[in-house]
Symmetry: C2
């Protein structure tokens, strides 16, 4: 049988009960809705979607990244990403430069226009996060980050920390 969180010896493991886990699951669901709500609203004005936001975010985050790299980060198919990148390049938000060393690669950069959209989106998203962080306090934020990292697949955790170290 699975561990259901009953206190074993001296430790209080009540935070591992199915009921507590379910509350956390539902909190994740509702919080993610809030998390994406502000950018989603902004994107409607541009006829872009969440997929465009994600691409723009990570290109801004790692300028010069290749398409393949972005595929790993976003976890979608190249056809799906390509549709998004094509519109972003056509609309002049993203520039795709052919690689010097390896001419098969495309290195992706935001244009001035792309940076402007990225700023608008991330500013709105940061605003909500800042309010939440401030309300919860630094210790809560540390716990928040710890649990999120533990929820991720190991590969994603590694990717996140690689990016974080670099940036």
């Amino acid at each position: 049988m699975q561990d259901r969180g009953q206190a074993t010896s001296s430790e209080n493991l009540l935070f591992l009960t199915d009921d507590q886990l379910r509350k956390g699951i539902e909190a994740m669901f509702f919080a993610y809705r809030g998390f994406t709500a502000d950018p989603d609203r902004i994107l409607e004005n541009y006829a872009y979607g969440r997929a465009h936001h994600r691409a723009v975010h990570f290109i801004n985050r790692a300028p010069g990244t290749t398409v393949n790299n972005l595929l790993d980060i976003l976890g979608v198919t190249k056809q799906s990403l390509n549709r998004v990148l094509r519109t972003l390049v056509e609309d002049g938000l993203v520039e795709a430069r052919i690689g010097n060393r390896d001419k098969r690669e495309r290195h992706l950069f935001l244009t001035e226009k792309g940076r402007a959209l990225e700023q608008e989106l991330s500013k709105a998203q940061r605003k909500r996060m800042r309010a939440a962080y401030r309300a919860a306090g630094p210790d809560a934020v540390q716990g928040f980050r710890q649990v999120l990292e533990a929820i991720m697949d190991p590969g994603m955790r590694k990717l996140l920390n690689t990016m974080t170290d670099a940036g």
Copy 2:
């Protein structure tokens, strides 16, 4: 200008810098992927999607809930939810009983089969959450929950806590 988290007087507000906020944002993105990964894999075997999971979850959570109630929780259009409910009813996972008091209403219940699927899905999701909770520890979990609640729209927070109190 926006608060960018510089320490003002004695308090250390470094956890509110744009950089820290961005890390939290990316952690949310990657964690949510992990959060949905296990149920998504299971759902493939049944030709259902995330929308079905959500419906089944909340019907299990609040048996007898009406369609309108579920709409508020899920935040989609009734047409979108209806498509999902129709397949679940057709497949015998959900029973929709016409209301006694108000015959316009449908009260939703999981059948035995529905409960079985719900258990399979939530068990997989809880397993990941339990591992994450255990790895991070009770204090981190408390912070996690606090920040998630602060990220939500107030309406959602209220809804979540109403459900939590009742359940």
